[in-house]
């Protein structure tokens, strides 16, 4: 009898040796004359347990991890004799970290073979599209609007309204664009879903296409994600072969086609208008809005541009109904958010849960604190443009409005944990430096302000006229916040000002030091 094993092909697992483990399993099994089938899945998102090896049993999958090549012989022994093993984690679905999640978008990630259309369909894939085809445009729009889904890229704009605007626009051509330029440090949910469940993104985009009357879509993936590019291209080819892309998708009268385009290392291209410029083959200069992309988007045509996670949420909403999705969440933040725990954290990974969980629960309870074992001092939420939160604000619930009320943002759902060795002056300086490196250069507050910001924070670090320069940085931040064309210059003040506000002691020399100098 053949043993069925599952090893992730996710880039995060591969980076810690999943390919080597898969190969070692194959070779060791062959040597013993044991028949094994190794399915390369996406990741379950428990990165501290990668490389994770799962084995199919009549009672469900049993997990082992983190497995190294050296563990392979003993692992095969344990499987053959059904005896305990040090790395045995029990039934995968019963691992508390996974069990306490609400996986709507990531339900299949880590479970199925991302290259197999049949596996996708066997696990409920394309049910959303089937239902969408029976509903028609207006009814789909009602469902998406009623679900309360808001753009998961960071801005949180209601998806239903965006789609409706494009649906109502009159044009000879319309486009669907998927923003997979996931440049925020601490985020990897887009990468994971593209590598682990790429048909989900295709299905979501296809539904968008039939809803608004677009027949062509682009997925713009950053060049730093070669594995995701490969996975999406393979899935697109498989969907075409299976009749899910091209003319008459799923046997209907609708046509929809998809193409992957690769970015070239510009963070600002994650901003939607910059991304559109880049797709058109130009410098990624941000466009002034209005006109909105919904009216005047790619090649000047009405365009739905959404984040990967927004499209990935759509199939569930169409398959299970808007209410099933909207039943999760709090306030105006409905549904679930794939939260990414990163940086100096013990249990880092992808944690999908309903909105409303507090920051403290996520960092201390789910994440288990730092892997260095030192106290958590600061967490940056929402990428390089997100605010630094101190422990005092750990009661903040994960919700668009609650974070905004505390001068922060949830952005794309990334949480980067720092221990008490962090120097917040350096983090503030880095925020400005990153903005200076990545600014598209179109507007002055961002282009010049970021460089002046680096210089001024450096003066503070060097102890030059500290209080005057602090006031100057705050003033500069206000100029950038209100005067920049897009979120790069406009939100860079969040990490800077939050560092100044919540970690003031790092910027102002402690009085005791002054006394000691006497």
């Amino acid at each position: 009898m053949s043993i069925r094993l599952f090893v992730s092909r996710d880039a995060g697992a591969v980076a810690v040796g999943a390919d080597e483990v898969a190969l070692a399993l194959e070779q060791a099994a062959a040597k013993r004359g044991v028949a094994v089938e190794i399915v390369r899945t996406g990741s379950r998102g428990m990165y501290w347990l990668e490389p994770l090896v799962e084995v199919a049993t009549p009672q469900g999958r049993i997990a082992f991890g983190p497995v190294t090549e050296a563990d392979v012989p003993s692992l095969l022994d344990a499987l053959a004799s059904n005896t305990p093993h040090l790395l045995r984690l029990g039934a995968t679905d019963e691992i508390p970290w996974l069990k306490r999640q609400t996986r709507l978008t990531f339900a299949r990630c880590g479970v199925i073979d991302p290259r197999s259309l049949d596996d996708y369909r066997a696990h409920g894939g394309y049910k959303g599209l089937e239902h969408a085809l029976s509903l028609g445009s207006d009814a789909i729009l009602n469902e998406v609007t009623a679900s309360g889904l808001r753009g998961r890229g960071g801005a949180g704009f209601p998806t239903g309204i965006k789609w409706k605007t494009v649906a109502q626009a009159k044009a000879d051509r319309k486009f669907i664009v998927c923003n997979a330029d996931e440049g925020d440090s601490g985020t990897f949910a887009d990468r994971m879903i593209m590598e682990g469940d790429p048909f989900l993104v295709i299905e979501g985009m296809t539904i968008a296409g039939i809803t608004v009357g677009a027949t062509k879509g682009y997925i713009y993936i950053r060049s730093e994600y070669p594995h995701a590019v490969e996975a999406m291209n393979a899935a697109i080819a498989a969907a075409k072969r299976g009749g899910y892309l091209g003319d008459k998708i799923g046997g209907s009268t609708y046509g929809f086609d998809l193409e992957v385009r690769v970015g070239a290392g510009a963070y600002v291209c994650g901003e939607e208008t910059s991304l559109l410029e880049s797709l058109e083959g130009r410098r990624g200069l941000v466009r002034a809005k209005p006109p909105l992309p919904a009216h005047h988007g790619l090649f000047g045509k009405p365009t739905v541009i959404n984040n990967v996670l927004s499209f990935a949420a759509i199939p569930f909403i169409l398959a299970e109904g808007a209410k099933a999705y909207a039943d999760f969440g709090m306030g105006r933040s409905r549904g679930t958010m794939p939260i990414q725990l990163a940086g100096n954290i013990r249990h880092g990974g992808l944690f999908e849960t309903a909105f409303g969980v507090t920051l403290g629960e996520l960092v201390d309870d789910v994440g288990g604190g730092t892997f260095t074992g030192r106290p958590v001092r600061a967490v940056q939420v929402g990428g390089p443009l997100g605010a630094y939160f101190p422990r005092a604000l750990f009661d903040t619930p994960f919700d668009y409005e609650a974070f905004a009320a505390r001068d922060g943002l949830i952005g794309h759902g990334g949480i980067v944990v720092f221990d008490d060795s962090v120097d917040m002056r350096r983090q503030a300086r880095f925020a400005m430096e990153f903005c200076a490196i990545e600014s598209c250069g179109k507007c002055t507050p961002c282009r010049i302000g970021s460089t002046r910001g680096v210089e001024t924070i450096e003066k503070i670090i060097n102890g030059e006229r500290v209080s005057e320069n602090l006031a100057l940085v705050e003033d500069l931040c206000n100029t950038m916040k209100f005067g920049s064309l897009c979120a790069l210059g406009g939100f860079t003040p969040y990490p800077v000002l939050s560092a100044l506000k919540h970690f003031r002691e790092d910027f102002v020399p402690a009085p005791t030091t002054l006394q000691a100098a006497e």
Binding site: A11, G12, V14, A15, V16, D19, E20, L23, Y47, W48, E182, G183, D184, S185, G186, T187, F188, D190, R191, S223, E224, Y225, P226, H227, R261, V262, G263, A264, G265, A266, Y267, S278, L279, G281, R282, R283, G284, F299, Q340, L341, A342, G343, N344, I345, G348, G349, L350, F371, Q380, P384, G414, V416, V417, D419, V422, Q427, F430, F434, E438, C440
Partner: protein, 162 residues
Amino acid sequence: MTAVYEPRYEPWDETRGAEIIAEHAQQEGATLVILHALQEAFGYVPEAAVPMVAQALNLSRAEVHGVFTFYHDFRHKPAGRHVLKLCRAEACQAAGGDALAARAEAKLGVSLGGTTADDRVTLEPIYCLGLCATAPSAMLDGRLIGRLDQKRLDALVAEAQR
């Protein structure tokens, strides 16, 4: 399955360049697609290719040059034989990336962005590989490495120097 990533590039050749450009020129918004394809073939975007791209796409040389210079990925000359990229973004900073970057610089005798005098190794910063839960991370010629520590970094540097 440890693939050996030994990048091998063709020497610049005008006819081959023209072929690559023609292959992609019909796509809408083809500039980045073509620049990527050229760099994939030759290891960089040769200066001589810029006017050829411009002509094929009915753009000015300045426009193509503008696109080329806007994006961090495109090179105007070949990189070293191996390219070691270290993630320098926040998640990796939180996990000790600063010290590792300084160590790599010291070991190779170049700053981030530089190439060793023997042209063997180009050391570059990268802003996020999306491996933030197994930080710090690096990429050696397309191969990903997570949970980087001093020992792993030293091994990577040694491998790149070979």
